[in-house]
Symmetry: C2
Subunit: 533 residues, 2 copies
């Protein structure tokens, strides 16, 4: 079981900045709705090595001919991952319906979820996330319009019970898929080998399905706006759909919904009321600086930098509360997020995020004309860079080490490289050393894996980066992924940060970054020679 | 497990008599709606002898203070049995709601249903009848308006899961109870001892809650109009609420929705379309005659007799198809219903129902001016009476015997007495002999028990009848019944005709007859001296 990230602060005081919230509301919009029909009936079975897969297909036109009696089921394939609302047209066959039809509907992002038994779920996050409904229908025929939104490709309709006298007929099922963007808005990558095109396609679908009224975390499960995910989604969005208003809206939401002292939350809610959650993370609050910086680089919108610089600067000031002697405190092992990896010591990576955001903060201070802050940040950055080496660098081992046990992890190295603690060549040597030594404390999520790959690209190791992308994201594609997963361990496809993969999200915002990295580093004039796979 | 009564006739042809259906529709009406609030929070536990009971109570005003986290529950008591629609006002407490609230709602007519585990149900009728809902609520606060109708006194709200961050609060629950009648419309029985008043009160509540747009069978489960139940409900209704139009409407429905050859069904549906079921029972079809006869006795409405005599006469003619050599055939042991009793041979009782209805048919023929039919029925009746003795009476044993094994049952004797096969004194001796000998093949349901008691009253044995009523219906009252049950075996309170009492109906039309019998035989001038209990 993963470490539980649950923050409960009953006495926390919230503050709302009305001008920012008003702007966020003005930037809200109608989602694009698309009608989607199921494309076939499928059977799901487990292979010898325990992987669930589609074992047979039937034409969807056969669906109304299937008479579902007690314990019968059909499984519909909608052809791709979607997020949306489902309406079923149901009827009865046989004698008159003399009992309620009792149906179980299972929505599945991947085939494995169809075979999962929800009664065996005992993970530490809510069982309520499992996309399964039990529904009584007193009178057939009926149009069953489900009020909830689901994220799925497969829908199993199982007859828990009918009666000896009648059977249930599924005449029609329609999905209204929703998103802020349409796939056509992103330029396809025509020049790449097929395996990378497949990775790009799934990345785009992942990002599309997470782009709703905010950038969602994972539409199956967590519809909140998380700032760590937002940072990566925004970058991927700049390279693809370029929906700038959605990023702007999300920045206003984070700036408008804060803790009394001005701290930006790790995530926030827009329903039933707009409010910031009582979860705060060292790295996540600092990423407000980074998101604003990236937005400026993309848009050159100086107005919003001036407007939100105060909020960004405040995150840097408040981060100091979580530091001691110039480095992040260590009492709370989950003070920063970095990755879901069990046993990961986060101190060194958190320090690197601090440096990363100080650099961007210094640029923003300058743009905002805040010379005092610029100077303050320059001094802090110099100190932070010095501490990065004196406190965390182990010259003998050739790695940054973290925490009291001097842990060597992939994430520590990746973030120190992204923070430019060393000059490029030394960073490059560090990354190659990392790949060669392959320390045991690896990464658990595409989020952390992204930072390893970005670090490799940052030091010019395109081929090595591509190799890892092909292994990791390609590994999910090889397991049938239509969208990329919240967590993936190539050694253990059933791994979960929550104690059970039943609640894992298989379309998760922070996994969409190949669409950005492929466009940024592997297209255009600088494209390297890429071998087909 | 009881014998399964499931009739499936895929090739059956239906016929609709539009003039009758039009009249039935014109007689439809708005139900009376009554707002009902829960009166207390209760705990249900099992006593040493396995009976579920209310073990503690708390004031209902404490409800909004209960914060439901995973696995917590509250149980609401609405003070009496009701049929209706429920709306819950739910909210969250603690940190912001970061997961769906996943609730299980259990509606229970009796406390035992709260403790039942639906996953253990394996009876032969649909599991869908168990009044249990599993509901995900994405956004709290919300008003949860449940679309289905429930029959219940107790409502358990159980938090299957919330999250570590929030709890569910039940701020308010309101029930809109529905019925065709109001309890105030029935004259109370003020002169009787308390135990009989309690039996009468539960009888009235049973009848009230089964009186909806038709006389329902049991509002928890079977909302169809069954003709065997209608006959008893109509009689109880004449003595109490006197809603004559509802009886009239139900007669038109049975007469208007028939098999192609004119046979009246055992039950019919009014939703989604009006149609007769494909279940036909010898005794139930014949009861159309009896219901029309009773209605005339109550109303002296000669018009409707003339209008429906053809339908009634047709049932008698068609019953002959199920007879051979002047007695009911025996190939199909469930050709007639009589009772749910396991192993009951129904031939003798069915023959008695035949005689019972021939007598009433002769009267109706005369009223309708159908002299030919009257004469035909007179001849049939004489033959049937002769056969009752020659074929079924065992002089040596002093009982009517049934079937190839010459089974002696309570139901055979009761129905032969109600059919007046013997003159009154001989019938009286038979009933006393029955009580004394107490043959093993007793009765399983209040429906059959009613006919035993009615037979005792028919021969003037009021005290013995009252004794049985006090033991049987009083036995349910002693177990906490607010309404009377579909099935009750004093020796085995968990008995069920369906393999599990979880789907039993605990407010069942055919159990409401004490309200009629007490008014007919135990009030007014002829009231005997009744000892208090």
């Amino acid at each position: 079981m993963g470490e539980a990230l649950v923050s409960i602060l009953p006495d926390m005081k919230r503050k709302t900045v009305d001008t920012f919230i008003k702007k966020a509301q003005e930037l809200d919009f109608q989602l694009i709705e698309t009608k989607v029909k199921p494309v076939s009936l499928v059977s799901v079975t487990k292979t010898a090595d325990g992987i669930a897969e589609i074992s047979s297909r039937e034409d969807i036109t056969l669906m109304p001919g299937k008479l579902l009696k007690k314990d019968d089921s059909i499984c519909l394939d909608f052809g791709d991952h979607h997020v949306g609302y489902v309406t079923l047209k149901l009827n009865s066959a046989g004698s008159p319906q003399d009992a309620p039809a009792y149906l179980r509907l299972k929505f599945a992002e991947i085939p494995g979820e169809i075979l999962d038994d929800s009664s065996t779920y005992h993970g530490w996050i809510s069982k309520g996330w499992i996309q399964e409904e039990l529904i009584h229908i007193d009178v057939l025929p009926c149009e069953l319009k489900l009020p909830r939104r689901y994220a799925f490709r497969y829908l199993e309709i199982f007859a828990v019970d009918t009666s000896a006298k009648f059977q249930v007929v599924v005449e029609n099922v329609e999905l209204t898929a929703v998103s802020a963007v349409s796939l056509e808005e992103a330029e396809p990558l025509s020049s790449l080998p097929e395996d990378l095109k497949a990775i790009d396609k799934a990345s785009l679908k992942t990002l599309q399905d997470c782009m709703q009224h905010v950038f969602e975390d994972g539409p199956k499960r967590d519809r909140r706006l998380w700032i760590g995910d937002l940072r990566l989604q925004a970058k991927a969005n700049y390279a693809t759909f370029r929906n700038l208003n959605l990023v702007k809206r999300c920045m206003y939401l984070f700036a408008g919904l804060i803790r009394e002292d001005g701290k930006v939350g790790a995530c926030l809610f827009t329903e039933p009321v707009m409010q910031v959650d009582d979860t705060f993370l060292f790295d996540y609050s600092l990423f407000f600086v980074s998101i604003l910086y990236d937005y400026y680089q993309e848009t050159k919108d100086l107005e919003i930098v001036k407007e939100l610089w105060g909020t960004a600067y405040r995150q840097i000031v408040l981060a100091l509360n979580d530091m001691e002697d110039g480095v992040p405190k260590t009492e709370n092992p989950m003070m920063a997020f970095i990755d879901w990896k069990d046993g990961l010591d986060r101190q060194a990576a958190a320090h690197a995020v601090w440096i990363y955001c100080l650099r961007q903060g210094e640029v923003l201070a300058s743009l905002a004309g805040d010379e005092a802050a610029k100077e303050e940040l320059r001094v802090m950055l110099a100190d932070a860079l010095e501490k990065a080496v004196s406190h965390f660098w182990d010259e003998e081992k050739g790695f940054f080490v973290s925490g009291a046990d001097h842990q060597i992890s992939w994430s520590s190295q990746a973030w120190m490289v992204l923070a430019d603690v060393f000059e490029k060549e030394k960073s490059r040597a560090l990354m190659l050393h990392l790949l060669e030594e392959n320390p045991e404390m690896g990464v658990a999520t595409p989020y952390a894996y992204h930072h390893v790959i970005e670090a490799l690209l940052h030091v010019g190791e395109k081929e090595k980066a591509l190799e890892l992308m092909r292994t990791y994201w390609g590994g999910m594609i090889n397991l049938g992924a239509d969208t990329f997963w919240e967590a993936f361990d190539p050694e253990d496809p059933h791994a979960s940060p929550y104690g059970s993969s039943q609640v894992n999200s298989f379309c998760h915002a922070w996994s969409c970054t190949p669409a950005w990295l492929l466009r940024e580093y592997f297209t255009g004039d600088t494209v390297p020679v890429i071998q087909d796979r």
